[in-house]
């Protein structure tokens, strides 16, 4: 029993769940227990979007130091516009719209890697330059876009079963799948190996280029999917719809216990960290603080959590 508990506490992801629980507790203590369940429902539906991009970002970050996808916000913005334009408010076009959004994200991911490969530049700069261009395409393509999502699609994005959003259930299944891919497939093991030592991985015969291409494409596709989901949930596309997901996607990866040095990933931690961030905002909102204080506290708490979670090599255990 105690042994089991010890094992549980040794898991790096457990802390993000404990953190979320404490934040939730603080919020319902403040409201006197009012809205405790609703808070979890809301947190689950919002956390989904962070988890989807967080998983993509985690695969990219696991590739090793310097690997990060900064084009996600622009990617999400463009994909949300593409999804809404293709669906054009018509329920029968939902699947086509989703495919279009994912394809758009996939293309962005592939372009990202081509830039990294062809120009031999660090991924940060490659994804950054790509995001400049995507952002402009989005501004020009999505200007004055006022298309509402198809009613059936918007309802699906907001649907719940016994207070649990459908999207959250699907996303949990998806993260389990991602976990299996990461730990049990050749591709997933290759990602981890490249992150641990890219030269050793190459000498061991791993197809480094292909694996990296697949990873950036995967992250891009998830960004596209997220754009479509966000547009459904918030009932409309928007150039700025993805802005908060730059910080959020990187933060959930790091808070969730994935090593920024690469080679060590953690899928459950992404859920814990995403719930933590969303519940943190919910708590600050229930306390009724102003926008300035909310930003200030969010930033401070992220810095404190990162500091507490500690350095990469000097991990506590």
């Amino acid at each position: 029993m105690i042994d089991g508990a010890n094992k549980l506490f040794a898991k790096p992801w457990i802390w993000s769940f404990i953190g979320s629980f404490l934040v939730w507790l603080a919020a319902i203590l403040f409201t006197g227990g009012y809205g405790a369940g609703g808070m979890i429902t809301a947190a689950l539906s919002l956390a989904v979007f962070t988890v989807v991009v967080g998983v993509g970002q985690m695969f990219v970050i696991t590739l090793g130091p310097g690997n990060v996808d900064l084009s996600l916000p622009a990617n999400i913005g463009l994909a949300s516009a593409v999804a809404m334009k293709v669906m054009n408010g018509d329920d029968s076009m939902v699947a086509v719209g989703l495919i279009a959004a994912v394809a758009c994200g996939l293309a962005i991911g592939i372009v990202n890697y081509l830039l990294i490969w062809a120009l031999r530049i660090p991924p940060i700069i490659a994804t950054l330059s790509a995001s400049f261009i995507i952002q402009s395409v989005d501004i020009s393509y999505g200007r004055g876009l006022q298309i509402k999502p198809p009613p059936g699609y918007a309802d699906f994005a907001n649907m719940q079963v016994f207070g649990v959003p459908i999207l959250a259930i699907v996303t949990v299944l998806f993260t389990i799948g991602a976990s299996i891919v990461l730990q049990r497939t050749v591709y997933g093991r290759s990602v981890l190996a490249i992150g641990q030592n890219i030269r050793a991985a190459r000498l061991a015969g791993i197809r480094v280029g292909w694996t990296r291409l697949l990873t950036y494409a995967f992250s891009g596709a998830l960004g596209g999917l997220n754009g479509a989901l966000l547009a459904g949930y918030f009932r409309g596309a928007n150039v700025d719809i993805g802005n908060e997901y730059l910080l959020a996607s990187i933060a959930v990866v790091v808070i969730g216990g994935t090593s920024v040095a690469g080679g060590k990933a953690n899928v459950p931690g992404i859920w814990g960290a995403a719930l933590f961030l969303v519940l943190l905002l919910t708590m600050l909102n229930t306390f009724g603080v102003s926008a300035g204080v909310r930003l200030l506290l969010t930033g401070l708490i992220i810095v404190v959590v990162i500091t507490a979670a500690g350095g990469q090599q000097k991990a506590i255990r």
């Binding site: 120009l119 031999r120 400049f132 261009i133 020009s140 920024v260 930003l295 969010t298 810095v303 500091t307």
Partner: protein, 328 residues
């Protein structure tokens, strides 16, 4: 990494003449891209190439160049500051309120900001933290503080600041003079002083610098403090031009400053940065983003894309040059 070390090894070889050409081309690339943008502007609108034309076109380039130099210091230490835009915004809010109404508090607050930056550098070194995440978190902190200080756009720049930023020196337009001074100061500070070499070394080979007896903690804190200092100067310059502040005024600066450093020949790893190149890179981005597009009748929607395209073109040119160098 390997490419970088081979080029430097080549330059160290005595038979320099031939081998040095790619390296020289590479060093001249930022200046060439700026010249190209200027030529395009001159072709499209000859009247812009004048004292007043440059003053107008390059005015906003001063704060961008200062923010780029700020970013350059953290990049020299293998870190990245994703909060510089929000920080410039916060500084501009302090400048337009406290620094004007109660100068003493304003000065203390700005000095405190530099102290916070130094502390961040120390924290990142001591706990071995990823600077991207810490500075992303800090960007929320600065923005929150800016909104608390100035919930609505407003405030007013101190008169002395307005006077400085509207100086009209003879013959040379003020922005160009300011850029020259900035490039010279940053160049001599980082490239020509012995402690500057230590600072760059802490990014190039931290273990070697540590074994040589220098404090890496102090180097990291110094690099971050310098970023804070130039971030403050950037905010001051920005408010001297725009005359009033807004919490979101600096948001675009984070990406512009990183792009400027890379455009100017900097690298993310190994302490390889170029102060003169960074200033030129910032000027190129500032010119290409709006005046050039305006003269080409391209809608402002594509301003950001122009920055991305320039970045990609210059980096592609750099690859071509290095490849030629490797083939010989």
């Amino acid at each position: 990494m390997t490419a970088a070390s081979t080029t430097s090894a080549q330059s160290a070889a005595p038979a320099m003449g031939r081998l040095n050409l790619p390296r020289m081309l590479r060093a001249l690339l930022p200046a060439l891209s700026l010249a190209l943008v200027l030529l395009a502007i001159a072709y499209l609108n000859p009247r812009a190439i004048s004292y007043f034309g440059f003053t107008l076109m390059l005015n906003l380039a001063i704060p961008i160049a200062l923010a780029t130099i700020a970013q350059m210091f953290v990049i020299a230490g293998n870190d990245l500051d994703l909060s510089i835009g929000a920080f410039v915004g916060f500084v501009s809010c302090v400048t337009a309120t406290w620094l004007r109404d109660t100068p003493l508090i304003g000065i203390l607050a700005l000095l405190g900001c530099i102290g916070v930056y130094a502390a961040l550098g120390a924290l990142i070194y001591l706990r071995n933290l990823p600077s991207i995440v810490v500075t992303l978190g800090m960007s929320f902190v600065w923005q929150g503080l800016a909104i608390l200080l100035l919930p609505k756009p407003g405030g007013k720049a101190p008169d002395w600041l307005l006077a400085i930023m509207s100086v009209k020196p003879p013959f040379v337009p003020f922005p160009i003079l300011a850029a020259l001074i900035l490039a010279a100061v940053a160049y001599f500070g980082l490239m020509r002083t012995s402690y500057g070499a230590i600072l760059r070394g802490s990014g190039g080979n931290a273990v070697a610098i540590g074994r040589a007896g220098w404090s890496l903690l102090r180097a990291k804190a110094a690099l971050f403090a310098l970023t804070g200092l130039f971030g403050v100067l950037s905010g001051l310059a920005l408010i001297g031009i725009t005359t009033s502040a807004d919490a979101n005024i600096g948001n675009g600066y984070t990406l512009l400053s990183i792009a400027g450093v890379i455009l100017g020949g900097g690298e993310f790893v190994g302490g390889r940065v170029s102060p003169v190149g960074a200033v030129i890179g910032a000027l190129t981005l500032a010119l290409a983003a709006s005046p050039l597009l305006t003269f080409m009748h391209i809608p402002p929607d594509w301003q950001v894309a122009a920055n991305g395209a320039i970045l990609i073109i210059v980096l592609a040119a750099r690859v071509l040059i290095s490849q030629k160098g490797a083939e010989r």
